[in-house]
Symmetry: D2
């Protein structure tokens, strides 16, 4: 295998359009950097910069920018959802992307498998405080429902102590626990994506 045989796309669910700083984009890029050490090349999409229409079909028609994002997801081996926490829950922007992925349930390959089969997903979560586990639970379930595979230890995150207000992108450095967790996520995600890349799930 070559040094960059796998590809990834990171969907960032920040509520803030570019060029505003974004903690969720930051951790998403850190995941991509960690994946690069395992032969994965990828891109980052800040969802809120695009007009992703509400709906649960793969194409919602005129002006919908999801189909172009969808092509990046379908072309990649790995999907990373990087999301902020608001009220202990994933952002509405992230939820919009998950709903659009629900449309994949109607799309099958020649052998009856969802087009997402064989793709691996991981999650990166940041917030001022509290919510990372629940966010990962909701994202894991939604992604798994539409065909993604979840590697061991597939979430990295940072939150501060209860009711504090510092953002992840205001920290002096990446906390060691988060950095280690990101590295583990990347190693496991790349390993599993490579395995599945070479051995797709059986036909339906």
């Amino acid at each position: 295998m070559t040094n960059s045989d796998l590809t990834a796309v990171v969907l960032v669910g920040t509520l803030s359009p570019s060029p505003a700083p974004s903690s969720s984009e930051l951790i998403g890029r850190q995941v991509l950097d960690a994946l690069a050490e395992h032969g994965v090349v990828g891109t980052v999409v800040r969802l809120v910069d695009h007009d992703v229409k509400p709906g649960v079909q793969v194409d919602m028609g005129a002006g919908d920018e999801w189909p172009a994002i969808r092509q990046q997801v379908l072309a990649a081996d790995i999907l990373v959802i990087a999301t902020p926490i608001w009220m202990g829950q994933p952002s509405s922007v992230t939820k919009r992307a998950l709903e659009r992925l629900d449309g994949e349930l109607s799309e099958k390959d020649d052998e009856g498998r969802l087009l997402t089969y064989g793709k691996v997903a991981a999650v990166a979560v940041v917030g001022n405080e509290d919510g990372a586990h629940h966010v990962s639970a909701e994202v894991f379930q939604a992604l798994n429902d539409v065909g993604f595979t979840i590697p061991a230890a597939a979430v990295t995150y940072w939150v501060g102590a209860a009711m504090q207000g510092t953002d992840y992108n205001e920290l002096d450095e990446v906390p060691e626990m988060t950095a280690t967790t990101t590295r583990t996520l990347a190693a496991n995600t790349a390993h599993l994506a490579r395995l599945l890349h070479g051995a797709q799930y059986p036909p339906a």
Copy 2:
């Protein structure tokens, strides 16, 4: 007390712009009808028809239509969130409204209380299948975090059996259990709103 001393606003989280039919709008209107029998008058807002900007402030600036919706919420005694289920979770449109309500944490009255204090919230949920309890959990928590009070039995819902595809608005009639639950929700919500209308929470 007069026969219509209380007001309600129903925020509908369907993904479909008007005039498309909407099961969540249907159940939202049914809640409003049931509240009317307890002296509550109100209005329905289909959120997706409005340009509610992403963010967590009460006003996100140019073009943001949330401030007008917010005024309706602040003027009402009762807030009803009517949402579809997608992937077992509340819709992205509903989540957007909840995030905007997060902005209320910065707004206080002269006695240090959130402007939502004394307001009562209820939830109506519909989906083809599965998810109503979790949706109500997430909505209850988000609304409670920003100051709303939740009356006993504050959710009405309908879902079909596992993995079936009929919509609520395609049913021949409202299932009796859902109709009864809606009536109970309305009685409890109006009762508690009236109590709090006459006896606000203490100053902070």
Copy 3:
């Protein structure tokens, strides 16, 4: 009204039997202390010290110690669930109590109301890190489903930063944000319990 016209019971969901120290019991007692300033007297039950049988009936038969706890809940105006977080979720001990409360759906007063109607519930959550919002969401929903009313801002909590290991009962002092939140919870809970004590929900 007298200075102690209301009663509360705190159900503590720690996994550790007495006399082991318990962070969730600590915050539960702090809630009770704060309620005392609003005329509420109460007791604390460490659930794991009792043989609460699995099941969803109000009495599971021989050896079941839930019926005695249930009597305390039914005698009180206020129920506080104080729970640790494990894996971002409420403890199994807390879940056991919620399941037993599910049995209340079969019990009605002479006017067709659940015996829990008019009772107010609040939640206190502690963990090393992450999970308080989701825990409160699940507990709010379960308690509301069986008839409890949730006052504004009905949860107090503490968690540390991501993946850290200090317990709440190892802190030098109660963090100010948590202390303030506990006070607000107590004021709102007592206020609403007093209102409902004097004006029960309407008959079914």
Copy 4:
């Protein structure tokens, strides 16, 4: 590869001790039957028949029957959590097992990996009505946090329509959608377990 090179253990979270009928045990056995068609042999453990002590260590001492169950989990390639829904959430018995699995975070192999690494997990959920998606979300997250890998479409379930009362084990036959979903789960789970069995995650 031989026809039975993989092993599975199904942990059943019913609240009812044997020999009471159990819908969650039924669907758990159906998953095991479906896995058998892919060369997986396994056993079923009804957790409530065993004295699984509360706690988050791998062995809670005298009388604790978790260590014997744990040995079965560690010896298997596949873990299936089969759980009923109560109040829209996983049962307390299931939660107890998840908490005990939290103890695995302290156990490592010679190369620094959790002992769960390389094991694949799937979920089976039944209830009268509503809750399967949220239950799978919570179980996926908890199992993933402690090192299990989640294959594509890793949940099978059945629930009835809103607020109805028939149990899964009272149905005349397995609904076709559930039967199909169980078959897909089994095919994907066996495939991924076989892949990981032959190619463990990299050292930490």
